[in-house]
C-alpha cells in the first residue's frame, strides 16, 4: 500500500510509478522508478523524452550524486533495508533542506508504524507500508510539540515559547 501525505492529510493512492529492474526493458510512456545505477545509464534519455522519472536510493548511496538532476525528478525513493538503518533520514532532510527538492520523497523497505513520526519530520511525504493511513496519521501526530527544527517546518518549542511571550506582551499592550 502506498500512503501519501498531501495538505496535511494522509491517504492511500495508486502508485503511478512502475519499478523497472536494472536489466528490464523500458516500455510505454508512464512514470518509472529506477535504481541509481539504471538512472545513471538511461535517466537522461528518459527525462529528455518527457517521462516522469523516480530514482531509488540505498542507504550507502550519496544523495549529492543526484543533486544536478533533482529539479527534473518526480520522485526519490529512499530505502530502509532494516528499519534500524537511519541513514535515509539524513538523505531525506538533505533533499528537502539542502537541495529544495519538492517532488515526492518516498520511504520504501522496512517501513513500520513506529518510525512514522521520524519519517514525516524528516520530509518524507510517501510511505510504502502495510499500515493503514489512519493508523499512520495517528502515529505521525503522536507528539504535540517538537524541540528542534527539521524538514517538516514544524515550529520548534523555542519558537512556540517566544510566540507565547510575544502574545502576552501584545495583550498587555
Amino acid at each position: 500500500m502506498l500512503i501519501r501525505l498531501e495538505n496535511d492529510h494522509f491517504h492511500t493512492v495508486e502508485d503511478r510509478f512502475t519499478a523497472v529492474a536494472d536489466d528490464a526493458a523500458l516500455t510505454g510512456d508512464g512514470a518509472v522508478l529506477l535504481s541509481l545505477t539504471r538512472f545513471e545509464a538511461d535517466g537522461a534519455a528518459l527525462l529528455a523524452a518527457g517521462r516522469d522519472v523516480g530514482v531509488r536510493i540505498g542507504p550507502a548511496d550519496r544523495i549529492e550524486a543526484l543533486a544536478p538532476v533533482l529539479p527534473s525528478l518526480a520522485l526519490v525513493a529512499l530505502e530502509f533495508p532494516k528499519y534500524r538503518d537511519g541513514r535515509a533520514y539524513s538523505s531525506a532532510v538533505l533533499l528537502r533542506e539542502r537541495y529544495g527538492f519538492d517532488g515526492e520523497v518516498r520511504a520504501v523497505g522496512d517501513v513500520l508504524i513506529d518510525q512514522a513520526w521520524n519519517m514525516v519530520r524528516c520530509g518524507f511525504d510517501a510511505f510504502e507500508t502495510t499500515v493503514g493511513p489512519n493508523a499512520w496519521a495517528a502515529a505521525a501526530r503522536r507528539y504535540r510539540h517538537v524541540y528542534q527544527a527539521s524538514a517538516d517546518n514544524r515550529a520548534p518549542a523555542f519558537v512556540e515559547r517566544a510566540r507565547v511571550v510575544r502574545d502576552a506582551v501584545a495583550t498587555v499592550g
Binding site: Y89, S150, A157, A162
Partner: protein, 553 residues
Amino acid sequence: MFHYDAIDAAMVADRNAEFRDQVQRRLSGDLTEDQFKPLRLMNGLYLQLHSYMLRVSIPYGALTSAKMRALAHVARRWDRGYGHFTTRQNVQFHWIKLSDTPDVLDYLATAELHAIQTSGNCIRNTTSDPFAGAAAEEVDDPRVWSEVIRQWSTFHPEFTYLPRKFKIAVTASPQDRTAARAHDIGLVLRRNRDGRLGFEVIVGGGMGRTPYIGSTIREHLPAEHLLSYLTAILRVYNRFGRRDNLYKARIKILVASLGAADFASQVDAEWDAMDRPRLDLPDLELARIRASFGLVPFRTLPPRSERFEAARSDPAFARFARNNVVPHKIPGYGIVQVSLKGIGEVPGDCSADQMEVLADLAERHGHGEIRVTHEQNLVLPHVPLGEVPALYAGLAAAGLATPNINLVSDMIACPGLDYCALANARAIPVAQAISRTFADPARAERIGELKIKISGCINACGHHHVGHIGILGVDKKGEEFYQLTLGGSGAEDAAIGHVLGPALGADKVADAIDKLVEAYLAIRQPDERFLDTYRRTGVGPFKAAVYPDAHQA
C-alpha cells in the same frame, strides 16, 4: 533549578503514552521482539541477567529533593528498595517488570523524571560537572548548555537510528570532572581572547573494545552556534558511521579511520552549507534557560564559619571535611561530596531510606539540590559551612559519611556479572575486597588520590581504561580473571591505561592492588599522586611488585 514548562511536560506525557501503547502491542503480539527491542531500549529498559533494568535519566546529574524522593518511591514500590547511580549520572533500578514500566514512567513524569534515550542507538544523557553553579573556576554554568543539548537531542527525528549510541559531556572548569575527552563529543567551555564564550569541540573519545581520547576538531566554536555545529557532526556520523560491524560503529572509529583533520573538514563542509539561524538557539530561549539555573537564594555569609571550625576538633568530622568538602564560589559555602562507597558496600548503590535521608538533608542544609557524579557518588553543591556539621551527623546516621572521596576505596565498579547480561566477570565483589583491604581511613588518606575503576567486560561501563588503576574482568577457561591497567585518567590530563601483565585470579586482585600501593609509597616524591609517580617512573617498579618473577624486558 530547571523546571519543566507545559511543553516539556507534554513531551514526556506523549512519549509515555506511545511507550504504553508499544508495550501493549508487544504483549499482544502486534510487535515482534525484534521490532520492540530498540523501542524498549530508547525508553531505558534493558533485559538483564535476572530481570529487566530501568535506567532513569538524570539530565546533567542534577536532582532536587523532590526528585530524589520520587526515586525512593520507585525503588520501594516497583523495585527492591534500592537504586544504583551510574557512570553517566543516571540511576538504575535492577528489578523492574516490563508490565509495570508504563506506570513507573507515568509516576516519574509527575516528578519531572523520565527514562528517555538512556539506551539505544541514539543521543544519550548529556552529562556535566556535578559542581556546576558552585565551582569558583567555572567559565559559565555548563548545565545551561547541557539543557540546551538535552532539548535539541530529545526525539531528534534525524538522529534516532544512529549506527550506535552517542554520548556528549559538557565541562566549564579547568579541572574536568566529566571525562569529556573520553566521550563521543566532549565540549569544553572557554572564553577566547575577546572574552567571547565558546566551546573546544572534542570528538571521537570513548571506552569499550578500542578506547580513544578524543581529538579537537574545533578550538573555539562560538557558543551561539552550538546546535548547528552539533547537527553537522551528527549528520556526518549518521551518514558515514559504519553499520556493518557493531564493534566498529562508534564515531571514534570513523574519526580514527578518516583522521581528525579530514573528519573536521567534512563537518565544516556540512556546517557551512546549513541554514544555521534556523537551527541555532535564539538568545531569548537561551536567556530563559539560563535564568532558571540562577535562582539559588544564597545567603550572605562570612567566609569563615565558627561552627564549622569548632567541629573540626572531632577527628572524624575533620577527616570528612578534609576529603569530602571543597570550597564554593560563594563565601561561607562549601560543596559537600557524599560517598556511595562505604567500606565493603556495593559502589554506587543507594537504598530508598538513604535517598529519603538525602532528600531531607538537602532540603534542610543544601537549598534542595543534589548532584550525581560520573564516579557514582553524590554531591550537595550548596551547603553553608555552618551547616556542614549537622549535615555530617545526618549523613553518618544513614551510613553516607564515608570520608573517602577520590581515595583508594572510592572506586567505580559497574554492576558486572552479578546483574548484567553482557558481563564476563563480576566487578562488585572485587571492589568490596579492595575496599576492605584499604578500610583504614588513615592509610587511605596517606595514600592520597587514587582512582580505581572496575569493568566486568570490555564494554567498559566501569571506565577502567581511564582509571589510575584499571581492572577488567575476563572469562579465562571458565574462571573469573582480572587484567590490571595503569596510568589512565579521565580528567583534563586524559589518558588510556596500559596493561600491567597477565590477568590475575579473583582472589589475587586485592593483594595485587595492595602491592601496587606499597610500591608507590616506597618511591613517591613529595606531592606526587599515584598517577604522577607512575608517569615519572613508568611501569617498572609496579610490574616488579605484582609480577616479581617476570623477566625484565
